[in-house]
């Protein structure tokens, strides 16, 4: 059968009485920016009435996940914050004390508080709480270019999300982030004559289909499988995609570096590596070869609990495939041993000759780098810039991204050392509920104690804004705003997507870019005078001045093309020389930068801080290895809980437990259970499944209950099911990266928190559960 479609339609057109605007989705709702193509249908009142996938988007081709499919329920939701509101700080945590104000009053308040606080405590007393998946979380101008503070701070301990891999690849490869080549930037994608389908794709600590990080369209793995690619998966869980893999190496959480060192051991000892690439383009091969003798497959088999013959077979399969690619994931960032794991992953790509070749792992060129770090730094004195929290303690982290160190920020909030933090702004962050804080209750307590003025900026009232904010600003959605979404935050060329307003703006909401623009001109007029208007700012800041917003708007989605083997063409280094943008000009298997930062220049395996091997004394009390945060199709971190069609798919948070363990503990499917360790406690329903091995459990993250009591101490039930309460701060790797979100110990017991504490403790801790969960209307309480 032949079908009609909208291929070739312009960026805006009429369809049966509705105005259709083609756009690429990002922020909000949050997502790791693929920039999926959508068609927004608006009626004559400018109301969003329908959303469909845009078949013109060259990567997604009209496909959409449940989160975009429910966009009209999100955009039109009655609980959206529509107007600025203020609240006396003494009423923090009281939902009925907010009063509506105008934007003018809001700006007056921000300006007067900012001036008062910085005069009293210095410019460094202002911090921006950066989150993830939202534009605010990468909008570094908020800090330097607006508040003249260096303290832009992603609040997750050890920046345990994406950045550790970015940093490791900047140091080892001199390029920010090797990704599997899924032909996204090539005209015709998979059919482009330059592209080659990888013979093997190895998924390392990544489940890309529901997660799509960070610009990589996860289902391209399915597209490539159907075109012949074979899979190897390295993951503690047997995800659906693992059941389609040739090898599924189900390792103990936290032991990845041992497994990868063993694979390097096999590939080097069996002479399966690319001699040409190693000799011409790597540094330190002999030293790496010697180091990986420490972990032969037999030893890794014991450490990781993976059969020795599978480690060997998978290593051979990967090395013999021409080409092969590795999709490496969040597990790399969520352990103290993460930089070493990252080093091993890149060593595998390098010694097999798979860097920047068709079907291998592509990297960005020198011209593709981000322009955000350092943006606006001219507003600050050298002394202020130098006071960036963590710059001297963790130069590998803070010096590279110009972000304040998350754990040192918590310390400053709790102790006022080295200086007090008194004012803040939430930039795409719901840290109490979501992904962006370990021990969230500590952050909650410290913020309330320390901050004199805290600004929220979101689509919804969240536990974070309800409890800690004094001013609440209304954030607009993707359907109402201009903007640019680029895969991998522009550091790796695939696509640029353009966001174009499709409907009438709801309430008085603004986007991060608009708030930045307007507040910037108010507080730093001299700096912002370099832009003629908002569109000029967007064009220069996001489009590198290469085109205007109106030109870009017409294209909707731009494939950036790809030049392979840039190391042979002088396209990776600022000086135009051949090779890689590292101190030696080569891929540093022996890392000069790691050594400079005080870590081992070669990979090494280190057990997680709390593990059956490191702390066997804890096993009596906490006998399970806990990993957290496996992704789901229906939610993006803490988002989506108030959208009925999404909540229906997974209405309550769960944890995975193997049937043998469940039976031993008397736990049946959906039983409420308490998970606990020395850092915290929560309750989750059991998903009894062999998706995890005996001895391992995996818990959902990002849960709060928008339909519940918003007031302190209950705060939408944010503490009840919060697995991040079990994850500690201050447990990073040597260079300051990583946190044990995916490798720690816990206990599991059938029952609920009400069984474990007095009624008073239950209520005071906000742990109480209502008799029934009433989410079907999707309303905030």
């Amino acid at each position: 059968m032949e079908f009609k479609d909208d291929l070739g339609k312009p960026w805006r057109y009429e369809d049966d009485g509705l105005t259709v605007t083609r756009s690429c989705v990002w922020s909000p709702p949050g997502c790791h920016p693929v920039g999926c193509g959508v068609k927004f249908y608006a009626d004559e009142d400018g109301t969003l009435v329908k959303v469909e996938g845009d078949e013109n988007q060259p990567v997604t081709k009209g496909r959409l996940c449940p989160r975009c499919l429910t966009l009209k329920d999100y955009v039109n939701h009655p609980d959206r914050i529509k107007y600025p509101m203020k609240r006396d700080p003494k009423y923090r945590g009281q939902a009925d004390k907010w009063e509506r104000i105008t934007w003018e009053e809001a700006f007056d308040l921000i300006e007067s508080e900012w001036k008062r606080i910085t005069a009293k405590y210095g410019p460094t007393s202002v911090a921006v709480w950066a989150g993830t998946g939202r534009e605010g979380g990468t909008f570094m101008p908020y800090a330097a270019a607006i508040f003249a503070t260096p303290n832009y701070c992603y609040t997750q301990s050890g920046y345990a999300c994406y950045l550790p891999r970015m940093a490791a690849s900047a140091y080892v490869l001199g390029a920010v982030y090797p990704e599997i080549d899924f032909a996204g930037g090539l005209e015709g994608t998979y059919d482009n004559p330059e592209f080659k389908v990888p013979e093997v794709i190895m998924l390392v600590g990544k489940d890309p289909l529901p997660s799509n990080p960070d610009g990589f369209f996860g289902h391209s793995v399915v597209d490539l499988m159907r075109r012949g690619a074979k899979l190897i998966t390295i993951d503690p869980r047997t995800n659906w995609v693992s059941t389609r893999a040739a090898y599924n190496l189900r390792l103990r959480p936290g032991t990845d570096t041992a497994l990868l060192m063993a694979m390097l051991n096999v590939i080097i000892n069996e002479d399966l590596y690319d001699h040409d690439f190693v000799e011409k383009w790597t540094y330190g091969f002999d030293q790496l070869a010697e180091r990986v003798q420490a972990i032969p497959p037999a030893k890794a088999a014991v450490i990781c609990d993976v059969p020795e013959e599978d480690i060997i077979a998978a290593a051979r399969m990967y090395a013999n495939a021409k080409p092969a690619s590795i999709a490496w994931g969040l597990a790399t960032d969520q352990k103290a041993n993460g930089q070493q794991m990252a080093h091993c992953v890149m060593a595998l790509m390098a010694i097999t000759g798979n860097i920047d070749i068709p079907g291998g792992n592509i990297i960005g060129g020198f011209a593709d780098s981000l322009n955000e770090p350092g943006f606006g730094f001219s507003t600050m004195t050298d002394e202020t810039k130098d006071a960036l929290l963590g710059l001297h303690e963790y130069p590998a982290y803070c010096g590279m991204l110009l972000n304040a160190h998350a754990d040192l920020m918590l310390k400053a909030l709790e102790t006022e050392e080295p200086y007090p933090i008194k004012m803040g702004l939430y930039a795409g962050n719901n840290l109490l509920a979501g992904t962006c804080a370990a021990e969230p209750r500590r952050w909650h307590d410290a913020m309330i104690k320390s901050l004199e003025f805290n600004i929220g900026f979101d689509v919804w009232m969240t536990p974070s804004t309800q409890s800690t904010c004094d001013l609440m600003l209304p954030l607009t959605t993707v359907a109402e705003r201009d903007g640019v979404v680029f895969t991998h935050y522009s550091s790796l060329p695939v696509t640029y997507g353009i966001m174009t307003p499709a409907i009438k703006r709801i309430g008085e909401t603004k986007s991060d870019m608009e708030l930045g623009w307007e507040l910037g001109r108010r507080l730093q007029p001299e700096f912002w005078s370099q832009y003629t208007d908002f569109e000029d700012f967007v064009s220069k800041f996001r489009l590198m001045g290469k085109m205007s917003l109106s030109e870009a708007r017409e294209k909707v989605c731009i494939q950036r093309g790809h030049t392979y083997r840039k190391y042979e063409k002088g396209l990776l280094r600022g000086d135009g020389q051949l090779g890689f943008n590292t101190p030696t000009g080569r891929v540093e298997l022996w890392s000069t930068m790691f050594q400079r930062f005080g870590d081992d220049p070669l990979p090494y395996y280190e057990e997680p801080q709390y593990s059956p091997v490191s702390t066997p004394g804890l096993l009596d009390e906490f006998p399970f290895v806990l990993t957290t945060g496996a992704r789901r199709y229906e939610y993006f971190h803490s988002e989506g809980k108030q959208i009925p069609y999404l909540r229906e798919i997974h209405p309550e948070p769960t944890f995975d437990i193997n049937p043998a363990d469940a039976e031993a503990l008397g736990i049946a499917q959906n039983d409420m259970c308490v998970l606990r360790n020395q850092f915290g406690v929560c309750e989750l329903r059991a998903n009894v499944s062999p998706i995890v091995k005996p001895g391992v459990v995996q818990a959902d993250h990002g849960w709060w209950y928008p339909e519940e009591d918003p007031n302190e101490p209950h705060l939408y039930g944010v503490w009840r099911s919060n697995i991040n309460s079990l994850i500690p701060n201050f447990h990073t790797g040597k260079m300051g990266f990583g946190a044990p979100f995916k490798c720690i110990l816990c206990s599991v017991k059938k029952g609920s928190l009400a069984d474990e504490m007095s009624h008073e403790e239950l209520i005071a801790g906000g742990y109480d559960r209502p008799a029934h969960l009433d989410w079907k209307e999707g309303r905030n309480a």
Partner: protein, 174 residues
């Protein structure tokens, strides 16, 4: 005779729920009602290395194969939005040919349910609540509450009020 079907390659259905949600958005089905549902067989272990896990979207009685969209020349919304691109809509004849080319596929031929009244609100009143204070005229009733002893399974005696009717042997209770 049915003419159209939905062909699904369940080797590659990843269970993303896009078809379910696209369908609900298109037709306005409320929470609890679906035009297509993703069923998951697994995970269960075949052996220590292999696991069975197949996800299969199944059209429900409410699926009308997006009759309005098809009449306008478009694909059903589930087919359009499927992330793994494993769904195909067409005539049964052409889809049967596709079925021959590859294993792990299934061809569904829904009975178009476009005329089912799914908008009717489901009655959630308890049968017990409906009977409270109800005045029902009965010919036979329990005359003496004390004859009912909840602690034992002993039979109880019914005091029967005989009106005009004779009691059938079958109804005698000891």
């Amino acid at each position: 005779m049915p003419s159209y079907g939905l062909l699904i390659d369940y080797e590659y259905c990843s269970g993303c729920h896009a078809c379910e949600v696209a369908c609900k958005e298109e037709h306005g089905f409320p929470v609890g009602k679906f035009g297509i549902r993703v069923y998951s067989d697994g995970p269960w272990q075949i052996n220590n290395r292999q696991t069975n896990w197949n996800k299969v979207p199944v059209p429900t009685d409410l699926c009308d194969l997006c009759a309005d969209r098809v009449a306008a020349g478009r694909k059903p919304t589930c087919v359009h939005h499927c992330l793994a691109n494993v769904m195909k809509f067409g005539t049964i004849d052409e889809l049967a040919e596709d079925l021959k080319r590859k294993d792990k596929q299934v061809l569904f031929v829904p009975r178009p349910g476009g005329d089912l009244d799914w908008r009717e609100e489901i009655d959630t009143t308890s049968v017990v609540d409906k009977l409270r204070g109800a005045d029902i005229a009965l010919e036979y009733s329990v005359a003496d509450d004390s004859a009912l002893d909840g602690a034992s399974n002993a039979s109880f005696k019914l005091a029967l009020q005989r009106e005009e009717h004779k009691l059938d042997d079958r109804q005698k209770v000891d």
